[in-house]
């Protein structure tokens, strides 16, 4: 199908339904700006912050001097140096392209991040990567720091990139991802922060024409992790696959907000986030927005969030939002659930001699396994299953742990 030229009329603020909304969506009417002053200080009465314990991240609401204590290294996934022909690592002024070219900050914390610090780390991929690139982000203390990262892939690049967050940190992070036409890229972000860490992140993602992006987020550690991800397409036939895995424990707040925008014809998006919650005060939030613009006929989109509550006490917020401004689409589905273990599943496993605690572990492992497999980087997938395994084994005797690790 030939690309159609469509002019979007400007929305009339007095009558937003007279014409299709021109701003990102009628639900999301925040400005897009590099200026902190364009955004109000977040509070729970604002739609975008209603689930966030804003009082626990107040330090991210005003521009600060970054400590510079966060160490970032870029290597191949096996630790060897990257091959300079396929992977280039540079540091540029924050205002110098490609930094700041993928949309603009969309809330107070992303504008603060942009203005706190003056350098940007750029990882540029091209050609066929032989092995995944690892960006290791190591926090060293709880001093407030910022990191701005650009991951860009040239046209027709095939490659995987993994960003690992670990150590102790209080980090404001901005990530821009821009993929070229007909590229096939995967980006995986793992949060394994130590206790006491806070991570307020904003990702802006632009998927090239005819390109595919597999974008995975795995959040396992950190007192508060809040990541908002805004995406759009650069042309028709883009394919976006967003995967999320999280495991919130007592008093942890884990929040993921995916904002998918279909602005070109014939694009496909899938958003699948799954989380487990364990312990009093464990709190997870998933908000999945999908906006299908008038310019995007034949859109095929689907979003899903499942939450498995392992004990009494956790809270899981799950909110899918669809805004469809085009009647000519393949699909725009969503599903969302919060639930305990299925008694029938547990009984089936127990009736085969599997103890209740082991049956629960099998079910949780199964709950995450297919998603983690899809990350497509075997060393990371097996590492993540190990971490989840250890979580599940916590509090058990050394004997049982040894048996589990033996598996």
């Amino acid at each position: 199908m030939a690309e159609q030229e469509i002019t979007i009329p400007a929305a009339d603020p007095n009558d937003p339904y007279a014409v299709p909304a021109a701003m990102p969506s009628s639900a999301d009417n925040e400005p897009r700006s590099f200026k902190v002053g364009d955004f109000a200080i977040p509070n729970r009465k604002q739609e975008d912050w209603r689930y966030t314990p804003v009082e626990r991240i107040e330090e991210f609401f005003d521009v600060f001097t970054p400590s510079g204590r966060t160490k970032v290294s870029v290597t191949n996934i096996d630790g060897t140096p990257v091959d300079g022909t396929n992977v280039q690592v540079t540091t540029v002024d924050r205002a110098q392209a490609p930094s700041g070219t993928v949309m603009k900050p969309n809330d107070r914390v992303s504008a603060v991040e942009w203005n706190s610090g003056d350098r940007t780390l750029v990882v540029s991929l091209s050609g066929e990567l032989v092995q995944p690139v690892l960006v290791d982000v190591q926090g060293n203390d709880a001093a407030l720091d910022s990191l701005h990262l650009v991951l860009e892939a040239a046209d027709r690049t095939h490659g995987d990139i993994v960003v690992l967050h670990n150590g102790l940190a209080r980090l404001a992070e901005g990530v821009e991802i821009v993929t070229g036409a007909d590229s096939h890229i995967s980006t995986t972000f793992v949060q394994e922060w130590e206790k006491g860490s806070k991570h307020v992140g904003n990702q802006r993602i632009h998927v090239g024409s005819g390109a595919s992006l597999r974008h995975a987020v795995v959040t396992l550690g950190g007192d508060i992790v809040r990541i908002r991800m805004d995406q759009d397409f650069g042309g028709p036939q883009g394919d976006l696959n967003m995967l999320g895995v999280y495991f919130a424990e007592a008093d942890q707040h884990v929040e993921h907000r995916t904002m998918v925008v279909h602005n070109y014809a014939d694009c496909r998006s899938r958003v699948v986030y799954k989380g487990a919650l364990d312990g009093k005060g464990a709190h997870s939030t998933w908000v999945g927005n999908a906006l299908i613009k008038p310019t995007a006929p034949n859109t095929d989109s689907y979003e899903l969030n499942r939450n498995l509550v392992l004990t009494d006490g956790p809270i899981a917020d799950s909110e899918p939002n669809l805004e469809i401004e085009n009647g000519n689409i393949v699909g725009a589905g969503h599903a969302s659930s919060v639930g305990h273990f299925d008694d029938e599943e547990l009984f089936y496993l127990q009736s085969r001699g599997v103890s209740e605690s082991e049956a629960r572990k099998l079910v949780v492992r199964g709950f995450f396994a297919d998603l983690i497999d899809q990350i497509g980087v075997p060393s990371i997938a097996s590492h993540l299953m190990d971490v989840i395994e250890r979580r599940l084994a916590r509090g058990e005797s050394a004997d049982i742990q040894a048996v589990l690790e033996d598996k």
Partner: protein, 258 residues
């Protein structure tokens, strides 16, 4: 030689209208190497008997015992009953997403035996058992029962029966939903298990057709929560002729009870 003695068992199920008693004094003794067919109309409590013995959380024991070699199963958790020697082949096996058959079977075998099976013999046993049941080797890597057809699920149940080698097996309408070929293959599996381990079998069924493949030693009629008649294989033929009407309470029809 083992014995399973069900003694005067009363059990209830929680329904929307409150607790409802389904089993009303079921009594039965099964020995190793014996095959008992339990036949009866819909709604008579046959499946409740099966699930109550296996320890499903939906069913409550009001009174009675189920002694496996003297140990009361009803006082044990579901997994302990399996370890003690009981196996339930379910009418509707449950799907467990993301857990591969291989991983599940090996975990179950490890828990049942108290130690992990030696990898080489285990893999060999698994492959042989799957081959006998004409199961595609790809099944091993699929999630437990997920996307299996009705016939595939029943084969997977019998695969577990053969591998876990329990003392007694309850087959809850294992014949339902099977075509003739699948019925024969599944029955062969059950017969192999009996031959190899001296399994005692309680076979719950509506129909006599499975009895052509798995020969019962004893046939029982189960109605209104208890065993009401016991006989030899000829009783099954009689039921085929006359149906269950004579065993229903006065004035009731089978559909009214179901």
């Amino acid at each position: 030689m083992s014995t399973l003695e069900i003694k005067d068992l009363y059990a209830s199920v929680e329904t929307k209208e409150g607790r409802k008693q389904i089993l009303k004094g079921a009594t039965l003794t099964v020995n190793s190497n014996e095959t008992h067919a339990i036949m009866g109309p819909n709604g008579s409590g046959k499946s409740t008997l099966a699930y109550t013995l296996a320890g499903h959380p939906k069913y409550f024991v009001d009174s009675g015992q189920a002694l496996l070699d003297g140990e009361d199963l009803l006082k044990m958790k579901a997994d302990e009953r399996a370890k003690a020697g009981l196996f339930l082949a379910m009418q509707y096996p449950v799907e467990v997403s993301g857990v591969s058959m291989t991983n599940f079977l090996r975990t179950a075998k490890t828990e049942i035996d108290g130690k992990a099976p030696a990898i080489r013999t285990w893999t060999k046993d698994l492959q042989a058992a799957m081959k006998n049941l004409r199961m595609d080797p790809k099944f091993a890597s699929r999630s437990v029962n997920e996307g299996f057809s009705g016939g595939e699920k029943k084969r997977a149940e019998v695969l577990q029966l053969e591998l876990l080698k329990r003392k007694f097996a309850i087959l809850d309408e294992t014949d339902s939903g099977l075509d003739v070929d699948a019925l024969r293959i599944v029955s062969e599996g059950v017969n192999r298990a009996k031959e190899n381990t001296g399994l005692g079998i309680l076979m719950v069924t509506h129909y006599t057709r499975i009895l052509k493949y798995i020969k019962p030693d004893i046939v029982h009629v189960f109605a209104d929560g208890r065993f009401v008649k016991t006989g030899g294989p000829e009783l099954a033929d009689e039921l085929e002729e006359t149906g269950y009407d004579q065993y229903l309470p006065e004035g009731a029809t089978e559909s009214a009870i179901a």
